[in-house]
Assembly symmetry: C2
Homo-oligomer: 208 residues x 2
């Protein structure tokens, strides 16, 4: 069996990947602001379903970019997402990447409450003083708790990136957060993940 490799310089691989994605999208016209996000999620998953899955609230890209420029931080529900976000780029505008999922106090409180660590992380998020983008890539329980905290006025994120993945309450948690009144980017349905959460954050950062 012969393997014909494309001869692409290391620094050109990403550019070439985006060209291929654009070619394969064919006649599908993407909104100019959303296109870098949709394409980067496809780039990270090789899954064109995200063309149809990704939902954006009104003006969410402008809201996100302006928040990042003004020093917003990003909180995620997994270590995988947190190390996938370009912290250097975010830091250049003053923001930090937070993830509390491995914190001792979070584990302890989740155990006491019979809750998940991810849900408790959302409560801890309300202690962060600066404007906050919350990116949920794993746990629907985080989105569900977040929705309660938003509705009771205990937290007001700049934007929620709601892309948990899975089979139990994932679909429902995303529908819920889209009705909570906060700006959102959500991958409707079961699909998503830490990689998708990080990709959306990075797409925003690279749009600046």
């Amino acid at each position: 069996m012969e393997h014909r490799f494309e001869n692409v310089l290391p620094e050109e691989i990403e550019k070439r990947s985006f060209e291929i994605i654009t070619e394969e999208l064919g006649d599908i016209q993407l909104d100019m602001e959303k296109a870098p996000i949709i394409k980067r999620v496809i780039h990270t998953s090789a899954d064109f379903d995200y063309v149809h899955n990704l939902c954006f609230s009104d003006n969410v890209v402008q809201i996100a970019l302006s928040a990042i420029k003004n020093g917003a931080s990003i909180l995620t529900d997994t270590k995988m997402a947190s190390v996938g976000i370009n912290a250097g780029k975010l830091g250049a505008y003053g923001g930090k990447v937070y993830c509390f999922i491995s914190d001792q106090d979070v584990a302890q409180e989740a155990k006491e409450k019979g809750s998940t660590r991810a849900a408790v992380c959302m409560e801890k998020a309300s202690t962060i003083p600066e404007p906050l983008i919350i990116a949920v890539g794993n746990a629907p329980t985080a989105l569900i708790r977040l929705d309660q905290l938003i509705r009771s006025g205990q937290i007001k994120p700049v934007l929620v990136i709601g892309v948990p993945v899975g089979f139990v309450n994932v679909v429902q948690s995303k529908e819920l957060i889209m009705l909570s009144g906060v700006p959102y980017i959500v991958a409707r349905g079961r699909k998503g993940g830490s990689n998708v959460a990080a990709a959306i954050c990075n797409a925003l950062l690279y749009s600046l």
Copy 2:
């Protein structure tokens, strides 16, 4: 719109997810050894394509489990995959999780050679003395370099988990590694990712 949530205890969410996956697989009969790996990848991606994409060399699950029990380490090409692997479980058998992608010397050498950092990481992997599982979740260039190192006898991994994702040389790099003579678990085609690499490693660990 009403959201009917399933009432599932936190510690039961994963179990329930696997039940749903099994239900939806319906009549598809999975090999008993491979099933936990295939199901965990579906669990991490909500993508049933992996039922058909995942390719296993002969006896690879037995080879992998026996290597882990004997203290094999796991090297990955991304920080995301490396933090996603259950290092505690692996450590209980004596193995470590390695990732060299952010090392200064790797960046320097990649620049000098006009190579990718991921490819240079594979060269650095040959300095690890213990038996090694190499899990590639991102860079096809890592698989291509690895294939060269295997063929020239410079490295002999216990097993290669070849699940890079993307559009440039990804498909070809996977076909190549499946012909290199090492035991493999590969996600044929474009799909894969750091999350998939970590999920396969964890499925192996949880099978022990």
